[in-house]
Amino acid sequence: MTNPLLSVRDLKVSFPSETGTVDAVRGISFDLKAGRTLGIVGESGSGKSVTSLAIMGLLDENVRISGSITFDGQELLGKSDKQLSAIRGNGLAMIFQDPLSSLTPVFSIGDQLIEALTVHRKLSKRAAWARAVELLETVGLPNPERRMKSFPHEFSGGMRQRVVIAIAMANKPKLIIADEPTTALDVTIQAQILDLIAKAQSETGAAVIMITHDMGVVAKTADDVLVMYAGRPVEKAPVHELFHRTRMPYSIGLLGAIPRVDKAEKQPLVPVKGNPPLLINLPDACPFASRCPIAIDACHTREPDLVDVGNEKMGEHHAACIRSHEITDGGLIDGRRVFPLPDVSERALAGVPREDRPVTLEVRNMTKTFPLMKGAFLKRKLGEVHAIRGISFDIREGETMAIVGESGCGKTTTLLQIMDLVEQVDGDILIGGTSVADVRGGHAERTLRRDIQIVFQDPMGALDPRMTVADIIAEPLRAIGTKKAESETRVDELMDLVGLDPSHSNRFPSAFSGGQRQRIGIARALATNPKVVVLDEPVSALDVSIQAGVINLLDELKAKLGLSYLFVAHDLSVVRHIADRVAVMYLGAFVEQGSVNEIFEDPQHPYTQALLSAIPIPDPDIERTRERIVLTGDLASATDQSGGCSFASRCQLFKVLPPEDQARCLGEVPPLTGPENHRNACHFR
């Protein structure tokens, strides 16, 4: 057996803090061989990033680290900064989540690449330049020669990440650590970047540590998987083993909690209740015990070790659970599910056909242009950004309409137009039948606002940290002049409704976890009994295990209260799970619109097809055999107002069309055509 390239033994990391010592990593061991990929998954705060920083030697002085990290035969712990930086330059590279923070804004990317190339080895200026251009070409940056002189801020997120990867590849690394390399990116770009990392790996023969919270990414990229919980690995196995023969309740919960883009039936998701423990003064017990549905008394007496639960046939498989031998494939124990399925509430309106339900929100030909200004003093108008170009849709009672699309396509602008009640030039917005054009004056506005409420993406940012939860939830009630006593009972009622304990209503938001905060936000939105709730990426800031609970709650509320949702998300799996109707948005216009099953089963527009095929599916067998359409290029800019199809620059179908058809794509804007429950905007579909 060959020696592992990287071997970590009993690594422990702790930070001093105000409230006590935070044991961020509490003993982790693994081996990694050249050319292999280790996926590390776990929820936020489980110690994934700290582990990678410890390996890179990038932690602060005051941090206590113990154990051993051997890289390429050398012990890394205890090395001086200088020695470490020599080792890093010779074989370790790191790709961070936020590419902007790893590039220096004041230097051109060419300078940064050349610096990376020359800092650890002698290379003539010209050779370095040539090599840098070559690297940029490898990572697929168009016009590499010219791009050498550009600065990081001139690039989009995806392009920056490519540059970071180019820099990472500069020194022919033996180990690449990628910490959430695609979390900040859109799915189509994510697919490109993951392919690129795979390419970098095959070209350099490097080992990769892929840190992510996305099980789909793991299924796609990893050979071995390590699941972390509360600073410890709780399960470790080859990827197929881990997905198909899961043995630790936390991993089972994690896999059960993800909505699947490839599954039509609307089963409720299985949330993992509760929150991960604080990493201070952890008791000697299974850290998962408080959330584990199959916990027994013995779980509370000692922290389980990570022991081998594999068999001869399948190879090694480690799990840290004292009941793992009882768990069988498919997440069953004694033939029953480890995580029981939550009850599905029947939809009150399920039987009523769509046409017979009242329309709660209607948008007709909405447009929005931003002037493009230049100059600090005398502003000149350079042109216009067409952020939204004439979209129309309606939402009926008890229905969820989702708008999906890449960042920058105009989703949030659409929501803000509605929430700001902006009068449309050549269209209209109707909320419960009332046109926003008719609303003038504070009173009328307040009455209309009762019917439409919003839930924001960031559950922390949307709650005033200085107000108690009761005050926060009561605020919309106070705004419409509800009496104090009345609003107090209503607050209790609402907290009950969203699954919070009403006796906690005098606490501040900071005392709640992310998922609970989002529930507070939802309770506030429901306070005035609105007809329509606008949800701007309501679960994208939450961990998967928590996300499932919030999605179930939204589903349940819709069924119970007959709400309409306007739901904006970039995660198509979530959309498939929750929505009834979908509109796919590209550069401010809908390119495909219809019922959710139609669109996910039979996507017609080339962009929808690409979007769907870019989503990694959390199943290694499906994920690795699936045919994939990888889009090239980035989202085009909304400024160019050419006469043709705005998707033409990236369209995969366009490339294979005969020239006369291509001319039509470029010369004629494709209208949205087709039957009511499935329209698309492509000339050739």
């Binding site: 057996m1 592992p4 009993d10 001093p16 803090s17 105000e18 409230t19 003993g27 982790i28 061991s29 693994f30 081996d31 410890r232 690995p233 470790k236 423990p277 604080l278 201070i280 003064n281 952890l282 008791p283 000697d284 000692r302 922290e303 070790d305 990570l306 022991v307 081998d308 594999g310 090694e316 480690h318 840290a320 929430m419 504070g442 506005e445 307040r446 606002r449 009762r450 409420q453 919003i454 924001f456 993406q457 960031d458 940012g461 949307a462 005033d464 940290p465 200085r466 107000m467 605020e475 919309p476 106070r478 705004a479 419409i480 501040f508 900071s510 005392a511 936000g521 506030r524 005035t528």
Partner: protein, 306 residues
């Protein structure tokens, strides 16, 4: 290899049941950080002693600060007059106590006034934006170039040295500088989602300013207030020293120092005692302000320490 990768057992010494976890409230955290800052605590103690002195000393003093003792003219400190007397026969002890009292009253009144006005104007300008914001900024920038100290000296001289008028004028010329600082801070608050959320709920604008924006710059306001006290004391003493401020028979630290400076060689106690009181006052407040800043700032080197 498989055997190697098994985790080492959790040692038996960890079996003991550990303390349950505990969260600290924000105020606990702030006060703990503040208390760790020794100079700041010392500043707070000195300030408390000064306030106590200003309140209690006039009650204990054997002489009133305007009462003249013709048997002791320009005497150095003695058992009879603890801090000596002026050439006119005033008891310096009583004068310093009353002067300190007056200076403190002016300082606190001015600091409260400027903090409130600047906070409301600054945040409201940021929230309402548009025309209101532009006009407010225009006014602030105009006031910034006006020679305000000169105006202040002129008006307070005319006012006949009444401390209330002086305070009012000091507020009127003191609010705009902090208002601009607060405006810049509040710009980022205006983009917070909870502010948008409140607007979408239909909460009226001024309520949003008072309910959501002001409390969230509270720590800045507290610091502004402490620094404002220091600044007000300095300006007031400066004015009185030059003879534009508080006038006889009323006294403030500034007027005492001013008259004491004339006799610094013949009767040094007349200068040194009020000067010491002034120094203690400003230094202690500056230390407190520093300590508060560190306590509130999550990233400050002193506060972030475990």
């Amino acid at each position: 290899m498989p055997r190697n990768s098994i985790q080492p057992a959790v040692g038996p010494e960890t079996t003991a049941i550990r303390l349950p976890r505990k969260r600290m409230s924000k105020w606990e955290l702030y006060s703990r950080r503040f208390r760790r800052n020794r100079p700041a605590v010392a500043g707070l103690v000195i300030f408390a002693v000064l306030v106590l002195f200003a309140v209690v000393a006039p009650l204990l003093a054997r002489y009133d600060h305007i009462e003249l003792d013709f048997l002791n003219l320009g005497e150095p400190p003695s058992g009879e007059h603890w801090l000596g007397t002026t050439s006119a026969g005033n008891d310096t002890f009583a004068q310093v106590a009353i002067g300190l009292q007056r200076s403190l009253m002016i300082a606190v009144a001015v600091s409260v006034g400027t903090t409130v006005i600047s906070a409301v104007v600054g945040t409201a300008a940021a929230y309402f934006s548009g025309m209101f914001e532009r006009l407010t900024l225009l006014l602030i920038h105009f006031l910034m170039v006006v020679p305000t100290f000169l105006l202040l000296a002129m008006f307070s001289n005319d006012s006949g040295g009444d401390w209330r008028t002086i305070s009012l004028i000091m507020i009127l010329i003191g609010w705009f500088f902090p208002a601009r600082v607060i405006w810049t801070m509040a710009l980022s608050l205006r983009e917070r989602e909870y502010v948008h959320a409140a607007r979408y709920m239909g909460v009226p604008g001024m309520k949003i300013v008072l309910r959501h924006m002001l409390p969230n710059i509270g720590s800045l306001l507290v610091i502004n207030f402490t620094l404002g006290v220091v600044a007000a004391v300095m300006i007031e003493t400066g004015l009185s020293f030059l003879g534009f401020g508080v006038k006889i028979p009323d006294v403030s630290l500034g007027s005492l120092i001013g008259s004491g400076a004339n006799t610094i060689t013949s009767a040094p106690w007349l200068f040194y005692f009020p000067a010491a009181a002034l120094t203690l006052l400003t230094v202690s407040m500056a230390l407190v302000a520093d300590g508060l800043r560190d306590a509130f700032d999550p990233t400050s080197a002193a506060g972030g320490r475990a």
